[in-house]
Symmetry: D2
Subunit: 327 residues, 4 copies
């Protein structure tokens, strides 16, 4: 295909993440640079099925690099999970003369992409956009760095009040299946305990750590709990802890949806820009069913099948470090 | 007393608020300026009862003007509610030769201050420090402006994700008895509805407003709910709304304790600095049992009795404006 | 005129200020609320002369309340200073059936508005939008609070490095004719000296203050200099000071244009929203040649002639307070 | 030496960088964890020469992980460049029983460290702390990520005003010898041109790029200039450009010292924490004259000699990407 590529589509799918706009901009501008037409589909796969779309030129993506959310909006799409839905989508793509599709999203989005590309002759390239960083084949997903800083900023604020009142806070952060956010943010805010799905921590350990901290003169503490933590959520953990440490002034905070938004950080904008360029270049080179990621500082590709089916592991060394410094 | 004032005490009490440190700094430096010694008591009235205190000079309060929380820490103190507790406190104050006390806090803290000053010959001056802005006799309390900006920043983030997914969010903010935060932040984030304790809104009105918004092309909406809202909390409101608008994608977020922390804004630092100077000058002029506040841009005083017993009203005009612009 | 008002225009003029978008949104939505059509002119008066304009409905101003700059853009317009230019502008307004104009800007913009309204039968209402706060008839201009927080955040950063290196910094902030930014921000960052156009400070006083600070144990210092300071700019002041304090490690920073941008604070958004509603209501009530402002917490009006010809005074009491706490 | 290590020293030297406090905290807590005593020296090598130092325990470094600057302060030290100075320093280290030294700083600081360790029997480990990222042997230096985000935030603000007024801005950022900040921030803010010391750009290219941008509909532009850019500084570049594009509204902003300060980002805190642990472990393992860094996501070491004498290269691929997306 190569230089003959004339027209591609781009969409964002799944949960939104800061930096998705920067990725859209990069895809569009790389196309403009190479003389390729780009159609942006609204609300993920639903927009392909409904042919809800617009041509995007370089100016259409001006002044979005610094904005959270996604200008193409996003949605889950049940219809796309059916063969009929995908057929409709394919027909719309063909009707528009679209020769390749860039999908910015998480693993659910890539599953759809993979099916579409397996069933029909339409090349699909994935760009990992999710705050959770839980995608195999890339060191970082777009939005992760921003979410970390949002969490750290919020917990710093809570730390002000925790310290002023000698309190113990259980703070729940996003991560249904993975502890990347909790682990990194936990180190950055000086959490006494970090509870993540990948590690089985016993309540006893948590209690012991808190007691030791107090003995060492710690007057306030933060426990960071990933949503998917095995023992229970932050509220449950707080209640259990209260039973063993009745004289502690314990509070709970669930950071919630604010973790998804905000202006992307520099790192997320640069990552998104790099992956946008790479995705278009992959299509130009005639590739399909790969995800562009970054590994060891360089842009890489991984088969979209691997990206879906495998799980990235947590860095045990970071757990060890968190343990050491949380005296 | 006047120019003969030689030694005063200062403490922070009740919930912490950004700008309390700036107020402490101002009290201390104003004293230094006038050659008055200052003792800072830790953890509110408990520190006076326990004589947990330290002399503060100009350098002791360096580099705190920009920090959230309170370096003197804060606490509720049951013992101070008893006559015996206050006697102990008074004895400690006398033992140290303290001739006046500046109390930075909310109305609970002022009640204690008022009792102490009524029962014993110790002048007490209040400085309103609370994010809720619910104190009579001042247009603004220290911490309110910072909390507003924290809420607005968090809701802006949620707006990114609301817009990307066409969602309706119920967001709960602080304000157990008052809607100052919800009302001002609600206008600033463009909330469709603002639910506050001072107004009785019917569920019907909320539903109607949301429907009208959608008819006018609004694809996402924010409803800001003050903690003390009469119908119920954000979760309850979301569930009730869901019954009437089953096809809406409704989410709930409770902003929680992060609203209390963070570096104070410029306005809060300036306000705290002004009130700190004023409080010391009140003591120097021989006054007692007054709260220093700001009204119509100028520093004012109000009897601490009024500050405790009366309630500031919400600005109806702001409600009206919120109504107009939330199309 | 009152309820018969059918169509108005709105524009932003002069230097941009954070919150101008919130004001535009408020004007537009208030009009929608009252069934009035609104036309937005691009690039200030130039857009009226060139008839570069667009109808704005409630959705056109969605998601701008939180954005810096102005979606209508702004410009100085030499042509509008001529009678011919204003004639062209008036003709375009009439051609479109526009019955009133809302001008968001500073005093230069109001001078144009005043001329237009004096010469032709077109009512004009001003909304004060400028970061400098230097407009008579309002306690606050739109953008001032945001600029203050931008300055305070930047100086807090510089303070980190000043403290780490025991340095003295001269920091220049905006304010060609007025010291509002320097004075308020100076108090908020704990500046040792604040130099503003309204006060004549001698170099001797600056030197003495710095020496006293050092004797009192201060290891780093900030001097905040308003652009329009009489003795000279920050660089000049630093060089003069160096002659008298040769062993100080002195640095200079000019904050520059970043002071104009950024997401508006809560206070600026609320102010802009209130003034937008008020401006439309003024036109509806048949008024002209007034500026809407805020005084003592309430919306007020002032004749645009006074707004142009008089100067707001600096709060001497704030100077006094700055003096006390900067030990 | 290994497990027998009993007492080490730590200092920060050269320009301060956000995250230095997090590194100090990590060094101290890792020592506490392993039962090693730590002495912190104030103001870099000067503190060693003057024996200006303090024992640091786990509590002494509480609540500093989120603060910019360095609690140990920093300074350049001419005396340490002499053999006599280093002898004094060594004598003081020995007198205190210090068996190893951790130096947090840039390459100037490492040169001193290297000399000390070559001339005397005192092991020294370096931790790269500088916002410039210009140290060989590590992918990232502590402070770089924070500085990038500070620059991006400031330029985003300037972009608001640039867009509102159709202006061209030349913005100067730090980087006397290297373009890491300019290149990464330049991509993140969507700069039209990025001028760095490592690339020789001709004025012609800059002009052409700006003209092309305008032809493509760009109404405002940002040119990011690294301090050490070969053609000249931002002001010079602006003046030269003005000669060729006289009708452009060109402005200049020099971001200056604010780039050094501010609360460290999550990434900088995590990096600093990892390198602090690693540095102590290097000393425990009996190593010396190495710098701990991070490469491809893992902690690594490099001989301090290489860190000083070699230069890290700029990523040419990033230059290419910047070129593509800046249409």
């Amino acid at each position: 295909m190569g230089k003959s590529l004339k027209h591609i589509g781009v969409l964002t799918s799944g949960g939104d993440a800061p930096g998705m706009n920067a990725a859209i901009r990069s895809v569009v501008r790389t196309c403009t640079h190479h003389g390729i037409e780009v159609t942006g589909f609204y609300e993920g796969y639903q927009g392909v099925i409904d042919d809800n779309a617009e041509t995007l030129d370089a100016r259409a993506v001006a002044h979005i690099i610094n904005r959270g959310g996604t200008m193409l909006r996003s949605a889950r799409c049940a219809e796309f999970r059916t063969r009929e839905g995908r057929q409709k989508a394919y027909d719309n793509l063909k009707k528009r003369g679209i020769e390749g599709l860039v999908v910015i999203g998480g693993d659910g989005s890539f599953t759809g992409a993979s099916l579409l590309s397996d069933e029909f002759d339409i090349p699909v390239i994935g760009i990992p956009g999710t705050i959770d960083n839980d995608i195999y084949g890339t060191d970082f997903t777009i939005g992760f760095d921003t979410a970390l800083n949002t969490v750290v900023d919020a917990v710093d604020r809570i730390r002000d009040t925790a310290t002023s009142h000698n309190r113990l806070f259980f703070i729940e952060v996003m991560g249904r299946d993975s502890g990347f956010i909790a682990l990194n943010a936990g180190i950055a805010v000086g959490a006494t305990n970090i509870l993540i799905p990948e590690e089985s921590t016993e309540l006893d350990e948590v209690i012991t750590k808190l007691k030791t901290g107090r003995e060492n003169g710690k007057t306030s503490s933060i426990v960071l709990v990933a949503e998917g933590e095995k023992m229970g959520d932050a509220l449950f953990m707080a209640e259990e802890t209260k039973k063993h440490l009745p004289d502690y002034d314990i509070r709970v905070s669930v950071l919630g949806h604010m973790q998804r938004g905000g202006n992307p950080t520099c790192a997320d904008r640069v990552l998104a820009t790099r992956l946008g360029v790479a995705a278009v270049e992959q299509l130009m080179a005639g590739h399909s069913s790969v995800m562009c990621g970054v590994r060891n500082g360089s842009v890489c590709t991984v088969s979209i099948h691997d990206a879906i089916s495998r799980k990235p592991g947590i860095d045990r060394n970071l757990m060890h470090i968190a343990e050491i410094v949380s005296l």
